[in-house]
């Protein structure tokens, strides 16, 4: 029957990635960008998107050569050892990302939803849900986000429209006032939040129309950046640069301030936290799923459940680490900027180069023969 084919549609991929990259970026980027570059944060978002486009271009160029799956392609192109090293790199990226998202999601829940709750209890519930969500593979996951997409999107857009009334355009200035370093760091931060898009590389065997995956990724990224620009402008217009820079999660604070027509609900921050709850959960779920997928391929494990549980334990330990040792957040930031980001580009460029060199050699051999 057709539901058992473990393939997902382009719409499902698009929505999956929108949820994946929207949650963290909209929650954290406004604070980061405003403290670094103020109103120029908009340009940081656009420049970051350009970087994302470059990443997608490189991914697309590699995807064309992938016949079976990404791991096989890496092994065929760069050899077994390098293929394994690259897989370990991706594995570390996905599990550390999941661990960080677990930490953030639990903190979000404790701050806005259940202040008296225990970190352990909440994180375990979230992890269990993450494992449960990944248990039926990519198709089950894709269905979740396909269905909740509009349930979260419509209230968010509605609240943003209502918030426009409080915007003071004077706060949009000064423009082009930030220094080059701050601007570059802001743009790099945007690009880092777009890195979950690399999961596209692993989705080729699961996609019904793999040739359109990259354009699907592009449209997801453009949608998220567009939403982030709107959110950023509204936040900047409502709070101003200085206030926004010190707020913990400015977008949720904004949701608490917006007044609904009719005045029945006085504060919507709790209700609107649902948007980020689901979006962050999507990313947590992606991290667990991708981590387990990479682990299964790397260790040639045949049991899906076992790999999921192993990854879940690692993710929990990483998340717990972020809670216990605050310096790990800074280490994670350094790891993202200096290891993950260059690593992602390097692997893609390196594979392309090897592929090109091999093709050239073949052509030369053919010419000589």
């Amino acid at each position: 029957m057709f539901a058992d084919n473990w393939k997902i549609s382009l719409r499902q991929i698009r929505r999956l990635f929108i949820m994946d990259i929207f949650g963290m970026s909209s929650l954290m980027l406004p604070g980061i960008l405003s403290s670094m570059s103020g109103a120029d944060g908009i340009f940081c978002l656009l420049l970051g998107m350009a970087g994302g486009m470059l990443l997608l271009f490189l991914m697309g160029a590699n995807l064309k050569h992938i016949r079976k799956d990404y791991y096989s392609y890496m092994k065929e192109t760069a050899g077994q050892l390098l293929g394994d090293i690259f897989m370990v790199f991706y594995f570390l990226y996905f599990v550390t990302l999941s661990g960080y998202v677990l930490y953030e999601l639990t903190t979000l829940s404790l701050t806005w939803l259940l202040p008296d709750g225990s970190w352990l209890g909440i994180s375990l519930i979230l992890l269990l849900l993450g494992v449960y969500g990944s248990a039926r593979g990519i198709e089950g996951r894709a269905r979740i986000y396909e269905i909740i997409f509009w349930f979260l999107g419509i209230p968010l857009l509605f609240m943003l429209v209502l918030a426009v009334g409080d915007v003071k355009t004077a706060y949009f200035t000064p423009i082009a006032s930030s220094d080059f370093m701050s601007f570059s760091r802001g743009s790099l931060s945007v690009l880092i939040f777009l890195l979950p898009l690399t999961a596209l590389l692993f989705l080729k065997p699961f996609c019904r129309k793999p040739e359109k995956m990259v354009s699907c990724g592009k449209s997801a990224m453009v949608t998220v950046i567009f939403l982030n620009i709107i959110i950023y402008l509204i936040l900047l217009g409502v709070f101003g640069r200085n206030t926004m820079g010190v707020l913990d999660r400015p977008v949720i604070t904004l949701m608490g301030m917006v007044n609904l027509p009719g005045g029945f609900f006085t504060r919507q921050d709790v209700l609107m936290t649902a948007v980020w709850f689901f979006a962050l959960f999507a990313l947590l779920n992606t991290g667990i799923f991708q981590g387990a997928l990479v682990m299964r391929e790397l260790c040639q494990m045949h049991r899906n459940r076992l790999s999921l549980w192993v990854v879940a334990v690692i993710v929990f330990l990483v998340g717990k680490g972020f809670l216990e040792y605050s310096f790990l957040t800074e280490v994670f930031e350094i790891y993202q900027i200096w290891v993950v980001l260059p690593g992602m580009f390097f692997i893609l460029l390196f594979l392309l180069f090897l592929h090109w060199a091999r093709a050239e050699r073949k052509t030369q051999k053919g010419g000589n023969g």
């Binding site: 849900l129 269905i147 709790v270």
Partner: protein, 499 residues
């Protein structure tokens, strides 16, 4: 080992009566036939299945009448040549098969010199006939309902689908009950593999008795621990016919007025027959209401607890104060109060269902009004909780399918617990868990959440009949569970002419 029927009538009678010894309800009669009444035949039947004792108007009576006018030596040939092939009569070569034939409610006929037993239909088992359905009431449309007779039920479907492509595949379930199970479908519309799948599942078990379609449903479901039903049920022939027109398969079981429809999705459970008989605006409005009702039936008491116990900042101060005032004097925590009220309501519902008609209604009034008011007056519960529980009950009644609504009624208690202990976090975690569960659930290979998920498989056409039911001329294609290439359900010739 089977006992063969021979030409010796006395031997056949002995074997047959041995099999049915101590069965006083089985009537066995020897009757003289032939023009000189020198030949003997034997008929056996269950007491109530033959229309009259003297057989005047029955098929058996007419056959006997005819046999009494014929020479004795021609009787056997006559039966062989003229009676064996007439519709509904069926010859059996063994005593066991003949016995099974008789137990379906027909008359068994043995003749001396004839080495088979003939099954001749007559009145059959007593049944209710066609009555109005008790559930699935509609404002517009047929009021006919299925009855306990499978033959009547298949006829009610045939009456609506007069096409030779409608096929009825018969099988039997229950080693001792030998219950007829019919699979009704449109051969040119069903999705490839669907029929084979249900046949495979039907062959995967042997039970001593299949007294209702519910038993077959439970034995053929794949996700047995899910609260959500994976078969749709209906007592309405028009709903069954509509499902068949969508390429789905209807499973009818003898002695059960409830037909099973497969595959089933969340969307099909929320649809009703008159969604398609009424204008699209009304249909869409009520459909959207039902979706909302199905969600609220599950989460409303939980949400009340989450907001009043954990997130009071959401509500305006005036409302908050009136809520607090309403709870003054109530000795229980809010969660216990809600659970008590919900259990009381479920008890009332159960009592109302089990009691005979008028008493059942009385229980509703006595329970709902008198006990509710008394509980509020005695400060056992607050009035707001009574309102919350009543609204939740209304929402569950608005879900058109009882089995489907029950899933939400059960999950409601999970949400009460989650929201009562974890607030809005519990609510979100619960919604997520249910959503993940539903996204994993499939009914015969069709995602339970279709067409909200996987709509691309049918060019996003199925989304036109979900929260909203768009005008009928927009619903040109059949849903995704129809065979590919046979999905056109409506052609508009006017549109063609205009082009």
């Amino acid at each position: 080992m089977s006992i063969q029927i021979t030409s010796d009538l006395q031997e056949n009678i002995r074997n047959f009566e041995e099999l049915f010894s101590d069965c006083e309800d089985i009537k066995k009669r020897k009757i003289k036939v032939g023009e000189h009444l020198e030949q003997e035949c034997y008929i056996a039947y269950i007491e109530v299945t033959l229309s009259s004792v003297d057989f005047k108007d029955s098929a058996v009576g007419k056959l006997l009448g005819k046999l009494r006018t014929m020479p004795e030596q021609e009787l056997s040939d006559y039966v062989k040549e003229n009676v064996e092939d007439i519709s509904d009569s069926q010859p059996f070569p063994t005593i066991e098969e003949a016995a099974e034939g008789m137990l379906t409610g027909d008359v068994l006929f043995f003749l001396n010199g004839y080495n088979k037993a003939l099954k001749i239909p007559d009145k059959g088992y007593p049944g209710r006939g066609v009555y109005e359905t008790e559930s699935e009431k509609v404002i517009r449309g047929s009021n006919e309902g299925f009855s306990e007779s499978i033959k009547l039920n298949t006829a009610l479907i045939r009456k609506r689908l007069r096409s030779p492509h409608v096929k009825v595949k018969e099988s039997f379930a229950g080693r001792r009950t030998n219950t007829n199970v019919d699979l009704v479908y449109l051969k040119d519309l069903i999705y490839p593999g669907m029929l084979e799948e249900i046949e495979k599942r039907l062959s995967e078990f042997e039970i001593d008795g299949a007294l209702d379609s519910g038993i077959i449903e439970q034995l053929t479901e794949r996700k047995k621990y899910s609260p959500f039903p994976q078969f749709q049920t209906t007592q309405r022939p028009d709903r069954a016919a509509m499902a068949i027109l969508e390429g789905r398969i209807v499973l009818l079981s003898d002695n059960s007025p409830v037909a099973l429809i497969l595959p089933a999705t969340y969307n099909t459970f929320v649809q009703t027959s008159d969604d398609y008989y009424s204008r699209w605006e009304i249909a869409s409005f009520t459909r959207a209401l039902r979706y909302l009702a199905s969600f609220l039936a599950m989460v409303f008491p939980g949400l009340y607890l989450a907001i009043t116990n954990f997130h009071t900042q959401i509500l305006p101060t005036d409302l908050l104060l009136s809520l607090a005032a309403a709870r003054q004097g109530v000795p229980f925590p809010a969660m216990v109060e809600v659970i008590l009220m919900e259990i009381a309501f479920e008890l009332l519902r159960e009592a109302g269902v089990r009691l005979p008609g008028a008493n059942g209604n009385t229980i509703g009034i006595v329970g709902g009004l008198i006990i509710g008011q008394a509980a509020v007056d005695a400060n056992i519960v607050s009035p707001i909780v009574v309102i919350v529980v009543a609204l939740t009950a209304l929402c569950s009644f608005a879900v058109p399918n009882e089995e489907f609504a029950t899933a939400f009624r059960i999950l409601k208690f999970l949400f009460i617990f989650l929201c009562g202990t974890l607030g809005f976090f519990g609510f979100l975690a619960g919604v997520l868990a249910v959503l993940i569960h539903l996204s994993h659930l499939e009914s015969f290979g069709i995602p339970y959440l279709a067409p909200f998920v996987g709509a691309d498989l049918n060019g996003y056409q199925d989304e036109r009949d979900t929260f909203l039911r768009l005008p009928l001329d927009y619903l040109k294609k059949r849903p995704v569970y129809t065979r590919e290439g046979a999905r056109t359900r409506l052609r508009l010739y006017k549109e063609k002419e205009q082009k």
